[in-house]
C-alpha cells in the first residue's frame, strides 16, 4: 500500500503542528509532508511535491481556503481537499461543496469526525486507483522537506523583510543548522535564494509599466529603493530603469 502525502494549511501554527503530530496519520499510512500558512505557500508545496490530500482552513491571509480549493479543483483535481473552519456560514459550505471538497469540519475539530472523512477518502482511492503513479516519483528526504517548507515560506513572504531566523523558526530548527541544511540541499545559500526570488519577482513587476520603482522595491521586500537598485544591478548588470527600457524596446 502506498503512502498518501498530506499537506496541512492553517495560519495558526499550533493547530497545524498539533494536527501534524498526531499518531493516527501513521496508522493510516499517511505521510504529513508539511504545513503551510496560507494558500500561496500551499501552491508552492504543490509545485514541488506530489500531494494527495490537503487539509485547509478557510480564513487565512493572502489566499484563503476557498480560493485554494477552487484552484485545486481547476488545476489539480486529483488532490482531495478537506476544509476545517470556525465558520459555518452557508456561503462557505456551499462553495466548498461546489469545488468538490470532501469534507467540511467545524472547529473545534472533532478528531473522530476528521478521521471519518479521511477513512472515507482512503477507501475511495483504494477502490478506484490501481498502483501506478508511484514509479517516477522519488520520495523527498526529511531534509528536502524542511528546505521546501522554508522555500514555501520565503515564496509567500518575500515581500516582507524576512531573515534566516524567521524561516528557521518556522521549521523549528536553529538558524545555523537550517542554514547548513539549506546550503547542502540546494547548493546555494539562504540569502542568495531569497535575493534570487526577490529579483525574479522584481523582473516580473518591472514589466508592468504603471508601477513606480519605489513601489516595486517595496513589493519585493526592500524598504530602501537605492539598495534595491544596487542589488538589481549586481544581479543583472543593469539598473531597473535600464531593464524596463530594454523590455519595452
Amino acid at each position: 500500500m502506498t503512502m498518501k502525502k498530506m499537506l496541512i494549511v492553517d495560519d495558526d501554527w499550533l493547530i497545524s503542528s498539533s494536527l501534524m503530530s498526531m499518531d493516527e496519520w501513521n496508522e493510516r499510512n499517511i505521510d504529513v509532508i508539511g504545513t503551510a500558512e496560507n494558500g500561496n505557500e500551499a501552491l508552492y508545496w504543490m509545485e514541488n511535491e506530489k500531494i494527495d490530500i490537503i487539509l485547509t482552513d478557510i480564513r487565512m491571509p493572502h489566499m484563503d481556503g476557498i480560493e485554494l480549493t477552487k484552484h485545486i479543483y481547476e488545476q489539480s483535481p486529483q488532490i482531495q481537499v478537506i476544509i476545517m473552519s470556525g465558520y459555518e456560514e452557508f456561503a462557505y459550505a456551499h462553495n466548498a461543496l461546489k469545488y468538490n471538497a470532501k469534507g467540511y469540519i467545524l472547529k473545534p475539530l472533532d478528531t473522530n469526525e476528521l478521521f471519518g472523512v479521511i477513512d472515507k477518502i482512503l477507501k475511495e482511492s483504494e477502490m478506484s486507483l490501481p498502483v501506478l503513479s508511484q514509479t517516477d516519483e522519488k520520495s523527498a528526504t526529511y531534509h528536502e522537506r524542511l528546505v521546501l517548507s522554508g522555500k514555501s515560506f520565503i515564496n509567500a513572504n518575500y515581500m516582507n523583510p524576512i531573515t534566516l531566523k524567521d524561516v528557521s523558526k518556522r521549521v523549528h530548527l536553529t538558524e545555523h543548522y537550517f542554514g547548513q541544511i539549506f546550503k547542502s540541499t540546494t547548493g546555494e545559500s539562504f540569502l542568495n535564494f531569497l535575493t534570487r526570488i526577490r529579483m525574479e519577482k522584481a523582473c516580473q513587476l518591472l514589466k508592468k509599466p504603471n508601477l513606480k520603482f519605489y513601489e516595486i522595491s517595496q513589493k519585493v521586500g526592500y524598504n530602501d529603493p537605492k539598495y534595491f537598485t544596487k542589488m538589481f544591478q549586481k544581479n543583472y548588470g543593469l539598473t531597473p530603469k535600464e531593464f524596463r527600457k530594454q523590455f519595452f524596446n
Binding site: 493547530i15 498539533s18 470556525g86 467545524l106 472547529k107 473545534p108 472533532d110 478528531t111
Partner: protein, 591 residues
C-alpha cells in the same frame, strides 16, 4: 417674525381697509353733495332776499312817482306853477294843502314835500320852511342843478342836510326830485319829496336781525348812497367794481360775500353783504359734523378691527408659542383654549398630538433602553464567536499534542453547544439540530456528573425534519438533571421521546429524579397556566416558564408544557407543538 408678517397685522389692515376707505368715501361724497346743495340754497336765498328788497325799493319809488304824478295831474298844482302873481300865492297854500294831505297818505313816512316853481314860488308841506330860503337858494343846491341837466327822469339825491327847513336844518334826508310842467306846458317847477334814511333802511333791512354779519347798502357810480353798517368796515373802493357773488376783504380782516343788483331807474347798485363765516356757517357746521362722524367712525372701526383681529390672532399666537416651546423640546405643553371654533379644534388636535408624541417618545426610549440592554447581552454572548471557536480549537490542539482525548472531546462538545445556542439567529430550527444540541449537552453533563448518567433519545420517523422553536428541550433537560437527578446522588436516567400524534409533535422528557411534592407541583402548574410570561419577563426565570412563554407566543394557547411528577419516582414533562415541516430552502441552510 416681523410685525408686518403677523396675522394680527394682516387682519387689522384688511379690516381697516374694508371699513375706513368706504366710510371716508361715503363721508366725503355726502359732505360734498350736501354742502354744494346748501351753498346753492344759500346763494339762492341771498339773491331772493336781494330781489325782495329791490321789489320793496321799486315799490317805494313807484309810490313816490305816484305821489308826483298825483300832484301833477291836479289842476291846482298846474295853476300853482303857472301863477305869477305873489298875492295869489298864499291862496295856493290852502288849496295845495288839501291836495297834499291826500297825496301824502300814499307814503306817510315822507317827511316833507316841496314844490319850487320857476316863477319863484316855493310851496312846502309837512315841515316849516325857512322863509329866507328862496328859489335862488334852491337853485344853488347841487342836486337841483343836476335835475336841471336831466329834466325828464326823476332823481333821488344823495343824503343831504335840509338847509331849507326852518326847524331841523341838520336833519339828513334823501329827496326825490322831479321836474314837472303845468298842463299848458308854459311854466315848470320841481317837486321835492324828502324822506329819512331810516325809511330806506326799513325798506331794505326789514328781514335781517343780525347787525354785524350781514346788511344792505346802496351805491352809485360815485359813492355810497346808503352806507353799509360802520362796524362792517366796508369801503367804497372795495365794492365798486365787484361782480355779484364775490368775496371781498376789508381792512379789519373780515371777509364778506357780496350780492348786488342794479336799479336802472335810480342808477343805484343795491348790494347785500354777508359775513363769509356766518354765511357759510351751516356749510361749515355740516363740514364739521361730517368730519366728526367720519373720524369717529374710523376710530371706532379701527378699534373694532383691533379688537377683532386680536381676538382672532391671539389663540393662533398662543398656539404658535406653544408650538415653539414644543419645538424647543418642552413637551409638557398644553394649549388651553375653550372655543369651539376651528382654532379650538386645532388646539385640541394639537394637544392630542402632543400626548401621542409623548407616549411615543416614552415608548421609544423605553424600547431603546430594552434594546440596548438586549444588545449588550447579545454582545456579551457573542463577543466574536470565531475567536471563541479558534481559542477552543487551540485548546483542542494542545489536548491533541498532550494526547488528552477527553479534554478534546469535551471541547468539541462545548463547541457544538455554543454554536447551537449563540451562532444561529433563526427563531426556529430543525428538530435534529435541537436534538444534537441536547446530545452535546447531555454528553457534557455526563462528564461533569459525579454519578453515572444515562440517557436515551427516541424519535418517530419524520420528526427530525420538522421545525421547532429553538431551545425548548434543553432547559427541561437541565431542570431534570439539576433539580431531579443531581440531588439524589445516584445513577440518573433521562429519557427523551419525540412522537408524532396526529398533526402535533409531543416531546416527553422523563427523569428518575426526586420528583416534586404535590403543593409545589400545583403551584408550578398554576404558574405555567397564568403567569409564565410575567415570570420569564420580570423574574428572569429562563427555564420552564420561558419555554412556555415562547411556545405560547409562537404557536398559541393550545400548545405548551404540561408537567407530572411523583415524589421519589421522577418527573415527566410533556411539550406539545404543532407539526411544521422544514421547507426546501431552509433545509439547505439549516438541515
Amino acid at each position: 417674525m416681523r410685525f408686518a408678517n403677523s396675522i394680527f397685522f394682516k387682519l387689522l389692515l384688511s379690516f381697516v381697509l374694508i371699513s375706513v376707505i368706504p366710510l371716508t368715501f361715503v363721508g366725503w361724497i355726502t359732505y360734498a353733495k350736501y354742502s354744494q346743495n346748501l351753498f346753492d340754497k344759500l346763494e339762492y336765498h341771498a339773491n331772493y332776499i336781494l330781489s325782495q328788497k329791490m321789489k320793496a325799493l321799486n315799490t317805494f319809488l313807484f309810490d313816490l312817482e305816484r305821489m308826483q304824478s298825483g300832484m301833477k295831474s291836479s289842476s291846482v298844482f298846474s295853476q300853482f306853477l303857472a301863477n305869477q302873481d305873489p298875492t295869489l300865492h298864499p291862496q295856493f297854500y290852502l288849496k295845495l294843502d288839501v291836495l297834499m294831505e291826500s297825496i301824502q297818505t300814499i307814503r306817510p313816512e315822507t317827511v316833507g314835500i316841496t314844490i319850487i316853481s320857476n316863477n319863484g314860488f316855493v310851496y312846502n308841506y309837512g315841515y316849516s320852511l325857512n322863509m329866507n330860503f328862496t328859489k335862488d337858494n334852491f337853485n344853488k343846491l347841487s342836486w337841483l342843478k343836476e335835475i336841471k341837466k336831466n329834466n325828464l327822469n326823476p332823481l333821488i339825491t344823495n343824503l343831504h342836510t335840509r338847509e331849507y327847513s326852518n326847524m331841523d336844518k341838520g336833519q339828513k334826508v334823501y329827496s326825490y326830485v322831479q321836474k314837472v310842467w303845468d298842463k299848458k306846458l308854459r311854466s315848470y317847477g320841481y317837486i321835492v319829496i324828502d324822506f329819512k334814511p331810516e325809511l330806506l333802511q326799513n325798506i331794505l333791512n326789514n328781514e335781517l336781525d343780525s347787525a354785524h354779519s350781514s346788511g344792505t347798502f346802496i351805491y352809485n357810480a360815485h359813492s355810497f348812497v346808503l352806507s353799509p353798517d360802520r362796524s362792517s368796515h366796508i369801503s367804497f373802493d372795495s365794492v365798486q367794481n365787484q361782480k355779484t357773488g364775490t368775496t371781498i376783504y376789508t381792512n379789519a380782516n373780515m371777509k364778506y360775500l357780496l350780492f348786488k343788483q342794479y336799479n336802472a331807474k335810480t342808477k343805484w347798485y343795491v348790494a347785500e353783504y354777508f359775513e363769509v363765516d356766518e354765511f357759510y356757517k351751516p356749510v361749515n357746521e355740516i363740514k364739521l359734523i361730517a368730519w366728526l362722524i367720519t373720524i369717529t367712525s374710523v376710530i371706532v372701526c379701527i378699534l373694532a378691527a383691533m379688537v377683532i383681529s386680536h381676538r382672532i390672532s391671539r389663540p393662533i399666537k398662543k398656539l404658535q408659542q406653544v408650538m415653539i416651546n414644543v419645538k424647543n423640546g418642552n413637551l409638557d405643553q398644553k394649549f388651553n383654549f375653550k372655543s369651539k371654533d376651528e382654532i379650538g379644534e386645532l388646539g385640541r388636535g394639537f394637544n392630542e398630538m402632543i400626548v401621542q408624541i409623548n407616549k411615543l417618545i416614552k415608548s421609544v426610549s423605553k424600547e431603546e433602553k430594552l434594546k440596548k440592554a438586549a444588545e449588550i447581552t447579545a454582545l456579551q454572548l457573542q463577543i466574536n464567536p470565531h475567536f471563541l471557536y479558534n481559542t477552543l480549537e487551540s485548546i483542542n490542539s494542545l489536548a491533541r499534542i498532550k494526547k488528552e482525548y477527553e479534554i478534546s472531546n469535551l471541547i468539541v462538545l462545548l463547541g457544538r453547544l455554543l454554536r447551537l445556542s449563540i451562532s444561529s439567529f433563526e427563531e426556529k430550527i430543525p428538530i435534529n439540530q435541537e436534538v444534537m444540541y441536547i446530545e452535546s449537552y447531555l454528553e457534557i453533563q455526563k462528564v461533569r456528573m459525579r454519578d453515572p448518567l444515562e440517557y436515551s433519545i427516541l424519535l418517530d420517523d419524520g420528526v427530525k425534519d420538522c421545525l421547532t422553536v429553538k431551545l425548548i428541550l434543553q432547559p427541561i433537560v437541565e431542570n431534570a438533571i439539576i433539580h431531579g437527578i443531581d440531588p439524589l446522588r445516584t445513577a440518573g436516567q433521562v429519557n427523551i421521546e419525540g412522537k408524532l400524534v396526529d398533526e402535533f409533535i409531543v416531546f416527553t422528557v422523563e427523569d428518575n429524579g426526586k420528583g416534586i411534592n404535590p403543593e409545589e407541583l400545583e403551584q408550578i402548574r398554576d404558574r405555567l397556566k397564568n403567569k409564565s410570561e410575567d415570570l420569564s419577563k420580570y423574574r428572569k426565570k429562563v427555564g420552564l416558564y420561558n419555554v412556555q412563554t415562547r411556545i405560547l407566543s409562537h404557536y398559541g394557547e393550545t400548545f405548551g408544557i404540561s408537567i407530572d411528577s411523583k415524589i421519589n419516582k421522577g418527573t415527566t414533562v410533556t411539550i406539545k407543538i404543532p407539526k411544521e415541516v422544514c421547507d426546501d430552502n431552509e433545509k439547505n441552510a439549516n438541515c
